[in-house]
Structure formats: C-alpha cells, structure tokens
Amino acid sequence: MLPPLQLPDAVTVRPQTELTQTPFFPQRRYQCGPAALATALVASGVDITPDILTPEVYLPGRQGSLQLELLAATRRHGRIAYVLTPELPAVLAEVAAGHPVVVLQNLAFNWYPLWHYAVVIGFDLQARELILRSGTHDRITIPFDTFRHTWQRSGNWALLVLAPDQLPATADESRYVKAVAGLERAASLAAARTGYQTAAMHWPDSLAAQIGLANISYLQGDLAAAEYQYRALVARYPQQASLYNNLAQVLFERGRRAEALEMIRRAIEIGGPLIDSYRQTLQQFEAQ
C-alpha cells in the first residue's frame, strides 16, 4: 500500500539517530500545537514556553492550532518556518542533520479526524521506527508504516524551525528564499537579512536572495546600501523590471528625482505582471 523508502546516504550512515537534547513540553488539553512549536523553537535557540505560544497559535473555536498560524508564529519569533518536501526520507534527513521536525498527523480516520502535532526527534532504521516527542509522552516510538499512515492524511506536512544562519539538509533554493521572505513580512528584519545572506552564500546565483538583501537595507533605512545593491543588481540583470522600480524608489527618497524618473520609465518600458505597480510608482513621483 505504501511505496518503499528510498533513503539518502546521510540517513543510512546514521542508522540510529536520536536528538536527545531536544526539550520536552508535555501538552495540556488541545494544546499540542503550542507544545510542539515550543519544542522546535527552543531547539533552534529561542527562549520560550508553550504558555507564551498559546495566545499566539491556539484557536479556541477549533480546539486546536492551524498549520498556517504555526508558520506565522515561527516567523514572529525570528525563525525560518521551512515546510519540508512531503516525504519521509526528507524528515529523516533533517533529523540526521540535527534538526527536530514538527509533523501533523491524523491519528484516526479521514471521516473522524484527530489532528495532532508531534516532533520527530529520532529514528532507528533497523527497527524501522521513529522516535517522537508527542502529547504527554516525552519519548514514544512508532513504526515507519504506522507513522506514514497517520501522516499521509495530513498531506505529509512537516515543518522545520531554523535559526536564520542555518540551511535545511534538504534545502531547495526557492522554498528556502520564500521561507526567509516570510521573516521579512513578519518584521523580523535582522533575522531575514541573515537568512538571505545564508541563501546568497549557498546559492550565489540566487536573484531572489539578492533582492531580499537589498530590500532589507531599504526597510532598515539604509538607503545608500540599498542603492548600491540595486545598482549592482540592475547591471547584472538588466531585464528585471522590478529592480528598476525599486531602485527608482530608493533614488527618489534620496532626493534624486530625475534619476528616479529615468529608472521608473525603464521599468514601465520592460513591463511584466507588476506593470501597474510601476505606473503607480511613476504617478507618485510626478505628484510630488
């Protein structure tokens, strides 16, 4: 019924792995979300407890916590919320790399769901078992296949909570940069900068990571750095209209209206899906 597992080398060289240093917070009624998230956040170096997280992620009317709210809370605490490729080997690879993984299981049936968050902290390839912190159990083992049945029903949802200078073992560029952009939105700017730097170091050709870095400079009010970064980007990617738009905005705020107008007209010339935004930027310049 389940396809056989294809395990990466990083997993098979560590057939028995257990992240024993991972903290444990026994959950209270309906509070597995705050408990599991606190476990992962503390493991990533954030000082927090489930009680602090409860008003941030617990939804009383649903007697539980939603996945999206766990993501948002992770970002607000300056950590990258990275949703893994939905496969067991990815979970094992992360655990082998020292990263505990938050998983959503449906412990019962599709027609009678019992949604539950737990944290995978280890595995034993010989015994074909996973080791979890789950609910009120500080250490529970469950067979791979049982886990896969219960996990499949949640769409194999697995969340990695990472300090922004860390990459997932299974890192994918666009997934990772998007996850860092979530930090930018949650106003964790210093963490976002570190995240983009991490991405730029690992993927030197990542345009998205470079745009992220330039935008962080802008958001932190360092217009000189933002101009420098955008000029370098425009020189390297002369066909990316959004780069001209953002450079224009930076120049305008630095009081260089003529240059700003030139840049925004170039953005409109190139066009693309965001052309309405460029036109609005131009209107805004002309109005002032």
Binding site: Q27, R29, Y30, C32, P55, E56, L59, P60, G61, R62, Q63, G64, S65, L66, Q67, L68, L71, A72, A73, R76, Q105, N106, L107, A108, F109, L114, W115, H116, S134, G135, H137, I140, P143, D145, T146, H149, S154, S174, K178, A181, G182, E184, R185, A186, A187, A208, N215, S242, N245, N246, Q249, V250, G272, P273, L274, D276, S277, Q280, T281, Q284
Partner: protein
C-alpha cells in the same frame, strides 16, 4: 439587554474590520518598493487585484479569528507574518483546515474500532498499543 447582546457582536466585527483595513492601508500602497515575496510570486494577477483581495482577506480573517474565540488584542499580531496567499487560504478555509489538538476525546462507540485499527498499524490513537503487526 438581549438586543444589546445581539447587536454588540456585529458591531465589534465591524469595528475590527475597519481597524484592520485602516492599519493595512498605509503600508499596502502598492506604489513604491516591491516586497521580496511579491517579486518571488509575480504571477499573472495584477498588483491592484492582489491588493484588494488581500485587504478583504485580512479583514475577513480578523473577524473569523475573533469569532473563533481569539482575544481581539492578539489578532493583529497573529496575522502579521502571514503571506498574501496564506491569508487568502485562511480566509477561505479557517473552519475546515486541520486544527491539531490532541489524541484524547475519542468517543466510546468507536473505541474498539480504533483499538483494532491501532493494532493493525493503520491508526495510532492509543500509545499503549504495540505496533508489531504493521510491518510488511
């Protein structure tokens, strides 16, 4: 008194919506800098459409979170940090998305069914069940 009670909730929702839309209207002026995640997901829909639907989604989610028992003082903080797409998803499916709670509260009627399926390894409700049988 009853009238007061029946009016107060919609009024509260209205006030919250106004607040959400007002607080959003400042940073969301789409002219100016384009955020990193917008560049990343520069899809076909125009910026204007995205802006409007985001505005509505934000107000909608705000109202629904309060209706589901979240303290209104916590709502703004909770939705900060959600991307536009995530807000849309939440607005549309907040009542049906999985809400991870716990493994308790199983009604007695299906206890035996679950016990059996637990032993078979298809479910995992009861931690005391040993899962030997599931190995293929």
């Amino acid at each position: 008194m009853n009238l007061m009670r029946s009016i107060s909730r919609p009024v509260a929702h209205f006030v919250i919506c106004c607040f959400a839309m007002f607080s959003l209207s400042m940073p969301a002026a789409q002219a100016g800098m384009i955020g990193t995640d917008t560049v990343l997901s520069a899809e076909q829909r125009t910026a204007d459409q995205a802006q409007l639907s985001q505005l509505l989604a934000r107000a909608d989610v705000t109202q629904k979170l309060v209706a589901l028992g979240v303290n209104p003082a916590d709502v703004q903080q909770r939705i900060a940090g959600l991307s536009d797409d995530e807000l849309q998803t939440l607005a549309a499916q907040i009542d049906t998305l999985p809400a991870g709670g716990d493994a308790l509260g199983v009604i007695v009627l299906i206890f035996l069914v679950l016990l059996f399926t637990d032993i078979m390894g298809f479910t995992n409700v009861f931690p005391f069940v040993k899962h030997g049988a599931a190995r293929r």
